[in-house]
Every structure is written in structure tokens, then in C-alpha cells.
Amino acid sequence: MDAFFDSALWQLATHLGVLSMVAIGSGLGAVLPEVHRFVVEQHHWLSDEQFVAFYTLGQASPGPNFLYVTLIGRHVAGWWGALAVVAAVVVPSCLLTYFLVRTGVVGGDGRIQRLLKNGLAPVSAALMLSSSWVLANTVDKDWHAALLTLISLVLLLTTRIHPLWVIGAGAAIGLAGLV
């Protein structure tokens, strides 16, 4: 049994499970720096390049963005690892939400919710910016890549272009050897 608790699968699933329960006010995008620290810097399960590739593939695939953890789970501990990680991230928070909705704690006039939501908004924004900053430090190793990030950022802020087009254009530019 000790071998199980020492296994990468167990450690990854429990760590991500705990993070998913702490990530309030912002969803799971906000805990990316911690996920990176845990799987790349602490355990060396993934290289920087693999971590970024998994994050990017998760963004470019259909479905909720947080499911990029599926790829980390698969890489670290195979198909069971993928399923365990998804379950660890999804099940506890869904059970809590279900319980709170059922008992009527969530609901009412929403005063507490508003208070928490407004109170956590600056923290959430900062966590999201931290996530992108950590990614940028890993990805933008030269000015070509940094310029591509900047162009993508400006396009997404100033136009209504669909993100998938921007990521697709990035793939084409990369394939052409420009970054």
C-alpha cells in the first residue's frame, strides 16, 4: 500500500485535487503556476517544453480549458493516470457544489456570493496574469516568439477574432520556421 501512496499517480491526483478545491473565484486557470512548479520543477515528470505543449494542445482542443491536466495525467501515469487526474479535479468540487445547491446554502439573495466575488476579483485577475507570465517565461525564449505572443495578445484584445484562428496561425508560423 505504501508503494501506491508513493506512486506518481497518487501524488499527482491528490495534489491537483487539493488545488482544484482551493481555486475559488477564478477557476483552474489560476493555479497553473503551481501545477507547473509541482510537475516540472519539483518532480521532473515533464520538461518545460512538454508542459507548454500540453497546455497549448488543451487550449486548441474542444472542451473546458482545465482539461489540459488530462494530458499531464496520461504522460505521468498512462490512461489510468489521465482518468484519475480528471476525476480528482472534477468530482470533489462537483460534489461540494451539489451539496451546497441542495441544502440551499448557495442561493438566497446572493449577498455573500457577491461579497466573495467582488472581494476575490483582484486576486483572480492577478492569478490569471501570473499564469500567463509563467507561460510566457517558458515559451518566449527569443524575440521571435515574444513578438508572436504580443501580436496574438493585441489581436485578441482589439478585435473579435476567434482564438482558434490565432492559435492556428501560430502553428503555421511555427511550421514555417519563423519562431
Binding site: M21, G25, V52, S93, Y98, L116, V139, V154, L175
Partner: protein, 182 residues
């Protein structure tokens, strides 16, 4: 908004199908698809209900859209509805990602694939930054909010301090400061 709805009943199967379609149609974030489906197409929620449900989803731990699926599923079909909605939301994307992961394990080391992924990643970082900047722009124009955001960004983004420790201190402090400033 949270009790099972009095009027319309929606079957768990309908919930499963609707959330499957939302998740498979949602590239780079499912929010627009969820809004379109729940408010404009099925009309299971009106705009106000949707905004409230989304706000609750943000406040609770875990993925926002998962929490929304749980709440909407429960509202229309109880526990079975909640399970159906969440399964619909995650099952197909997970299958797609398992296939993507297998493909990456096979060809991820090839030079053209690595080049394409580098370009994709650089663009995806821009997407992530744009989300953060939009969140920042939505904050009230008060120095207090931006001071809190700056402290958290310095702690997590620049100094890379441990997330749990920073969050456990920053979250209550932020809520308290902003509550006091009303």
C-alpha cells in the same frame, strides 16, 4: 434559481446531449458556447439567471463551467441531471485529449511538430494574457483593487512563492479590504 424548476422538466439525456454539444463546440474556452446554448437556444436560463449561475460557479471551488453544469443539471433533473450534465461536459473532450496525447507521444519529437507547437504556444500565451488583462480591465477603477492585484501578481508570478500559502493569506485580506471600502 437553485431549486429544481417548477415548470419545465428536462430529461438527464437532454442535459447530457446539450452539454456534450457545448463542450465539443467550445474551442479555447467554452463560455460563449454555454451562454449561447443555455440562454439563446434551449432557453433553460434567462440572462439574469445565467449571470447569477455563472457568478455562483466562480465563487465555488473548482472549474467554473463544471459547477455551472452541476447547478443547471440539478435544477432541471436532480442528481441524475447533475451527473448527466457534467458527464456530457467532460467525457468527449477527455476522449479527444487522450487521442491527442497518444498522437503527441508518437510524433511529438519530430522537428516539424515541435516547430508548429512552439508557434501555437507563443500564440496561446497571448490568449492567456488577454484573458488576464480583460479581468483586470473589469475591476472597479479603485487603487485598492489594483494594489491587491499587484501584490498577488508579484508574489505568484514574479517571486513564484507557493500558491497555497499566498492564496490563503491574500483571499481573506482582499475580501476584507474590499468589503470595508464599500
Amino acid at each position: 434559481m437553485v431549486a429544481p424548476a417548477e415548470a419545465a422538466r428536462v430529461s438527464p439525456w437532454q442535459l447530457y446531449v446539450a452539454f456534450s454539444r457545448m463542450s465539443l463546440g467550445g474551442f479555447g474556452g467554452v463560455f460563449p458556447m454555454v451562454y449561447r446554448t443555455l440562454v439563446e437556444r434551449t432557453r433553460w436560463l434567462n440572462h439574469t439567471d445565467f449571470a447569477a449561475t455563472w457568478a455562483f460557479g466562480q465563487m465555488l471551488p473548482g472549474s467554473v463551467v463544471n459547477n455551472v453544469a452541476t447547478m443547471v443539471g440539478y435544477r432541471y433533473a436532480g442528481a441524475r441531471g447533475a451527473i448527466a450534465a457534467v458527464l456530457g461536459l467532460i467525457m468527449w473532450p477527455v476522449l479527444v485529449l487522450l487521442a491527442v496525447g497518444t498522437a503527441y507521444a508518437t510524433v511529438g519529437d519530430l522537428a516539424p511538430v515541435r516547430r508548429a507547437l512552439t508557434g501555437m504556444s507563443a500564440a496561446a500565451v497571448g490568449l492567456s494574457m488577454a484573458t488576464g488583462i480583460k479581468m483586470l480591465r473589469n475591476l472597479p477603477r479603485r487603487w485598492r483593487h489594483f494594489a491587491i492585484a499587484a501584490c498577488v501578481f508579484i508574489a505568484i508570478g514574479l517571486l513564484r512563492l507557493p500558491f497555497l500559502g499566498v492564496f490563503i493569506i491574500a483571499a481573506p485580506v482582499s475580501v476584507w479590504l474590499i468589503w470595508r471600502a464599500r
